[in-house]
């Protein structure tokens, strides 16, 4: 009995000193859905983490964390082990993040691409990827000879539909005869299926391929077929050097550094961030010279105008597939509409899977 008591005492002292010493250093934790080497989504988040580290702040990360109980356990453990700020970098961590946040009011939480901020220590952030899609649409509309753009889509959520619409609208502006053909693969990450989808679209006459999935298989398929393609999430140029026109890049680094410093200096407060080209959260990889110097110039100008707000990706008049007006002439879509987008615009073929 006495012996046991002593043991508890020692471990209690040990624990307290340990947690005090852990508290001494400001630490930031990251939770990733994939491996850091996926060269897509998680890779870009990890680049952001490295920037935080470079700013002189200690970081740790846990990769390939599954949604659900695993996620909650990992987030809780990071909070317990003295992390002051925790980034949970995938949509599916939404509930777990809020649940843990409730139990650790002194720890700050940042959840990517979600919308739930149930406690004052939870912020959310996302990027306006659709602005990049507008540039892709402009380029695609100019370059296509078959007037058919092939689009490999993952899941029918507003973010993906927004991208399809933004691309189609921009392509229509420069080429009214454009058709967007879509194949849904119901996966973020299945190279075999993505390659087959790309091939099917090519066989159906698409001469430009773009994707809202994470593997490099579609651009490789396009390279083999000798047609144009666009990369996704990170610069995929070296997988298809001839084919890739540009890639939409997610650049989380500036935001991560800013938030980490704010949390360290005590100026952090809850917010909902949706940044785009202007803030640099969305960036474009170097444009392929193969598209011609004029088009590169146009793309760069468009990028500038989107960033400055001179051009909005969703400027009216915008019609749905049946011809009903969605956004009136001279108006632009508000963020609420963008966030809940669940219809195709005119010119997209097929139905949204329900």
């Amino acid at each position: 009995m006495y012996k046991n008591f002593l043991r508890y005492l020692i471990s209690a002292i040990f624990l307290i000193t340990f947690s005090i010493s852990a508290k001494a250093d400001f630490k930031v934790g990251f939770v990733y859905i994939g491996p850091t080497g996926d060269h897509g989504w998680t890779y870009q988040h990890d680049e952001g983490r490295k920037a935080v580290e470079a700013a002189g702040i200690k970081t740790t990360y846990v990769e390939s964390v599954k949604y659900g109980a695993d996620a909650e356990r990992v987030i809780r453990q990071l909070a317990q082990s003295g992390h002051d700020l925790i980034f949970t970098t995938s949509f599916g961590y939404m509930d777990a993040t809020n649940k843990v946040a409730k139990d650790f009011p002194n720890v700050k939480f940042e959840h990517a691409t979600g919308y739930k901020r149930e406690h004052s220590n939870v912020s959310t952030y996302s990027a306006r990827f659709y602005q990049g899609r507008t540039i892709l649409g402009h380029i695609a509309g100019k370059l296509t000879k078959t007037n058919t753009i092939g689009y490999i889509a993952s899941f029918p959520i507003p973010e993906v539909i927004r991208g399809i619409n933004a691309m189609t609208l921009a392509a229509q502006k420069v080429n009214p005869n454009i058709k967007t053909k879509i194949v849904w693969v119901f996966s973020w990450y299945d190279p075999g299926k993505e390659a087959e989808a790309a091939q099917a679209l090519i066989d159906q006459g698409a001469d430009i391929i773009m994707q809202h999935t994470d593997s490099t298989a579609p651009v490789q398929t396009a390279e083999k077929a000798g047609i144009w393609s666009f990369g996704q999430a990170s610069d995929m140029q070296r997988f298809a050097p001839k084919s890739i026109l540009t890639s939409i890049i997610d650049d989380w680094a500036p935001y991560y550094v800013e938030r980490a410093i704010a949390a360290r200096d005590g100026t952090w407060s809850q917010q909902d961030t949706w940044h785009g080209l202007k803030e640099g959260m969305v960036a474009m990889s170097p444009y392929n010279k193969g598209m011609g110097a004029d088009l590169v110039k146009e793309a760069k100008q468009l990028q500038k105008d989107l960033a400055s707000g001179k051009i909005h990706s969703f400027t009216g008049p915008i019609y749905d597939q049946k011809g009903n007006i969605l956004v009136a002439e001279g108006k632009v879509a508000d963020d609420g509409m963008l966030l809940g987008m669940n219809v195709y615009v005119k010119g997209v073929e097929g139905d949204i899977p329900k």
């Binding site: 060269h39 849904w184 075999g192």
Partner: protein
């Protein structure tokens, strides 16, 4: 859907390419099962083949070595299964499941440094003939050597099982290990060989994915194809030719549903995605209705542990 004849040729060509991993893995597993061993580790052995093939391609820059090593690593990992089930007499189902989980985890760990590296172009045969002959060109020519091997394999397997003495031994071991043993056949030895052969074919199937079909390494890139191969063996009632038919139907409808989507058919996408699974099961059940023939092909002692009393 445009239906000119050359387009159909291209379509059939891509259907063939997509069914190759299923044919290879299922033909390998078929031999394993005909010897009475149920190895549920197909997915795990495939993914190990995929990563080791890709890794060796990156390291040695030699595709031939990469293919050989992928088969060897399939053999090695199936040796674990063989040792556990044949020498230590563990349960086949549990061991096979463990093998799959182990394979997926191990491949992810081994593959860490190989993510994001572009693969090499795998040489294709008769590429000039592919372009010059309108319909048959894309079907018969311009494929990798692994594809030709895969399409020959079910026929070779059929011949092996039905016409050779060794094939008879395998079947005897699968149907009645006790009597086979009494005839002086080393049952454990035969089963070991069949397990290793199955592992080699699964390794090759994985390498086809990571070296030829989508030349790159990505965690979990087999994406459930091993399980489909396993199901094919059962629904094809352990007949190699029906395995081939099943694999082509599955590959065919997977490709066709993508085309139907691209054309904009007004059918729910979820249904289209489920279609390959549904159609393959229906067709295989229909062509294997003859219960007498099922009995003829089913290895009676499948999944049962055999040990020789001393």
């Amino acid at each position: 859907m445009s239906l000119d004849i050359s387009f159909i040729g291209i379509l059939i060509g891509s259907i063939m390419a997509s069914s190759v991993p299923l044919i290879l893995a299922a033909s390998g597993e078929l031999i394993t099962e005909r010897s009475g061993v149920l190895n549920l580790g197909v997915e795990g052995m495939m993914i190990i083949g995929a990563i080791s093939g890709f890794a060796l391609m990156v390291i040695t820059d030699n595709l031939f070595i990469a293919i050989i090593v992928s088969m060897l690593s399939g053999v090695i990992i199936s040796l674990i299964f063989g040792f556990l089930t044949q020498s230590l007499l563990t349960n086949h189902v549990a061991t096979g499941l463990a093998l799959t989980i182990f394979g997926i985890g191990l491949s992810a760990m081994l593959g860490r440094d190989f993510v994001g590296i572009p693969g090499k172009d795998f040489p294709i045969l008769f590429s000039s003939l592919r372009e010059s002959i309108p319909f048959f060109g894309p079907i018969l020519f311009g494929h990798s050597i692994v594809l030709y091997f895969a399409f020959a394999l079910p026929f070779l397997t059929n011949y092996f099982l039905k016409k050779t003495k060794l094939g008879l031994v395998v079947r005897a071991v699968g149907d009645s290990p006790a009597s086979a043993s009494n005839q002086g056949i080393n049952v454990i030895m035969v089963r070991y060989c069949c397990i290793l052969y199955g592992g080699g074919m699964c390794g090759l199937a994985g390498a086809y994915l990571s070296l030829i079909y989508t030349p790159q390494w990505i965690e979990n890139m087999t994406a459930g194809r091993g399980w489909i191969a396993l199901a094919l063996v059962v629904f094809a009632t352990w007949s190699p030719i029906k395995v081939l038919i099943g694999a082509i139907i599955f590959g065919g409808i997977s490709i066709l549903q993508l085309h139907m989507q691209a054309v904009g058919f007004r059918i729910p996408v979820q249904f289209l995605i489920a279609l390959p699974y549904l159609m393959t099961i229906i067709v295989l059940v229909v062509i294997s209705r003859d219960s007498r023939k099922i009995k003829l092909n089913t290895p009676t002692s499948l999944g049962r542990i055999f040990y020789k009393e001393k």
